[in-house]
Amino acid sequence: MNQDIYVLIEHIRGSVSDISFMDLAQARALASVTGGQVVAVILGHKAQELANGLDADSVLYVDDAAMAEFNYDAYQRVLTSLLKDKAPRAMLFGDTTIGADIASSLSAALDLPVISFCAEVKGDGGALKYVSHICAGKLHVEGPLPDQTTLLTMVPGRFRVEEGKSNKPHPLTILPTPDMSDLRIALMEYEEPSAEDVDISTEPILIAVGRGLMNKDDLEIVEDLAEVMGGTVCASRPVVDQRWLPSTRLVGKSGKVVKPKIYLALGISGAPEHVESITGSEMIIAVNTDPNAPIFNLAKYGVEEDMLDVAEALSEAIQEAKGG
């Protein structure tokens, strides 16, 4: 095993995902402790230009038509032999729809440890330590980075996208492509989200509802408040899973990143996959009956009350204020 830190560069339809830049920044911090290099790994097709702008000491590139977009089978083949061959100190992935799919199976295939929901890896008196946020952010766990090559799926937060960017040129090595016959998974097409609905990523006033919304009829109270405030209703995953709101209104990991002037979070606990998408908000106000809800750690103002009581009372108070 060497002391290099590898980063899988995740890309969708020709652009590198934000998380990969954050991973590069984390890798840079980690490599300065281990004394190794930061190595970016790109699997793609005619995608060498994705290497431009990455803050890495070197880039490894593998090309095949089957890897134009993410393919579990193809990635598994390439990365299994790459990790066996190179044995870096650690490899970083996003805790994402790409990274989380592939990191666990590599862990099983190579008998290497994988650590999920990882928020940070840092030097700790000569040793290396991981910190992960589990149970929707309600608990943190930490421990020594295992002695073997360790695979980590990273959540955003510790580093900014800009910190993983650099215009310094770096050497790019093209590695041979393993046999890509008999792949069992094929991408047919991407389907765009419906464009008919409002785009919550550009809305200035958002009223977000979460698990605290117990039944669909109560959504009316929230919609009334949104109307009075001149805002738009959006939601965390449980509400969209119930199909009470369309997926175009989803804020979070599979949904949109939002940056409104005000984000009024009603009955939202503040799981990391939601929080990562709302940190760009100018002001967050949270209403939740659970005083320990992680959303209160992010919000500027908090109210420990029932979301519907507050929504109703606030609608009235605003109407009164407007009238008066």
């Binding site: 099983a108 994988v114 992960s132 149970c135 949109k256 002001m283 106000i285 009350e305 407007k322």
Partner: protein, 253 residues
């Protein structure tokens, strides 16, 4: 068509998350366990496929305390077979151990499709689906929100950020990590679950837990809060007036 749905229990986040006295793990005995929410969606997706095109649905679970209830609930929803695997769960549980615990049963059941939750919120060591997929030599797709079976293939939607979906074809057998079922998990009344307790049977197999191969936890703790929201107090009317004032200051009213 045979579908197996491996499920697991997770700490209920609505309850207090008890930590062991030495601060390195959950206080397993004092946690309230519930079915992993994504597994509930996997069960629903399996039943939806059964209703659409016919299938035999088997629910596979670790034989932990409190597991019978979610198993009988799944039977009440339409699952055909219930199977639990015994092991020593007192020292904890992780996805690597669970994937090895389930693998022999999955090999002998020979399903066409394995549907499981895409992740579990307490899972520090990756996800169950891809671990099982490797042990079984099967393809895996995670973050799946719809499944249509067509002969020896399945067409699925995989969720990407921003509401983008990829339509993928996968050769069966395959393992799919479900994020959400096509329609929300159905509600079953308690009376129907009670009835299934009388009419359904849970088969049992012996297994062994192997907790090795995962990172050690030195410390588990509630996050220290550096900046906490300014809490607004008073009765609801007071609070509303304070909120109006804040919104006015922001120029939003």
């Amino acid at each position: 068509m045979k579908i197996v749905v491996p499920i697991q229990l997770v700490p209920d986040l609505v309850e207090d998350l008890e930590i062991s006295p030495d601060g390195t793990s959950f206080d397993y005995e004092n946690l309230v366990w519930i079915i992993n929410e994504f597994d509930d969606h996997a069960i629903e997706q399996a039943i939806l496929i059964k209703e659409k095109s016919g299938a035999e649905v088997t629910i596979l679970a670790p034989d932990m305390e409190d597991i019978d209830d979610p198993l009988f609930t799944a039977a009440a929803k339409g699952a055909d077979k219930l199977l639990k695997i015994s092991g020593d769960f007192d020292a904890g549980i992780n996805n690597h151990a669970l994937s090895k615990l389930f693998t022999p049963a999955l090999r002998s059941l020979q399903p066409d499709l394995i549907l499981t939750g895409v992740s579990n919120h307490d899972g520090l060591d990756g996800a169950l689906g891809p671990l099982m997929a490797h042990h079984l030599g099967l393809p895996y797709i995670g973050y799946v929100s719809s499944v249509t079976v067509d002969g020896e293939k399945a067409t699925v939607h995989k969720d990407y950020p921003g509401g983008l979906k990829a339509r993928l074809k996968v050769k069966l057998p395959a393992v799919l990590g479900i994020t959400s079922s096509e329609t929300p998990p159905r509600y079953v009344p308690v009376s129907k679950v009670r009835q299934s307790m009388k009419t359904s049977q849970i088969d049992e197999l012996e297994g062994e837990m192997d907790l090795s191969g995962v990172a050690t936890i030195e410390r588990m703790y509630e996050p220290e809060v550096t900046e906490k929201a300014e809490m607004l107090n008073g009765d609801i009317a007071d609070i509303s007036n304070q909120l109006v004032k804040i919104l006015k200051e922001q120029g939003l009213i």
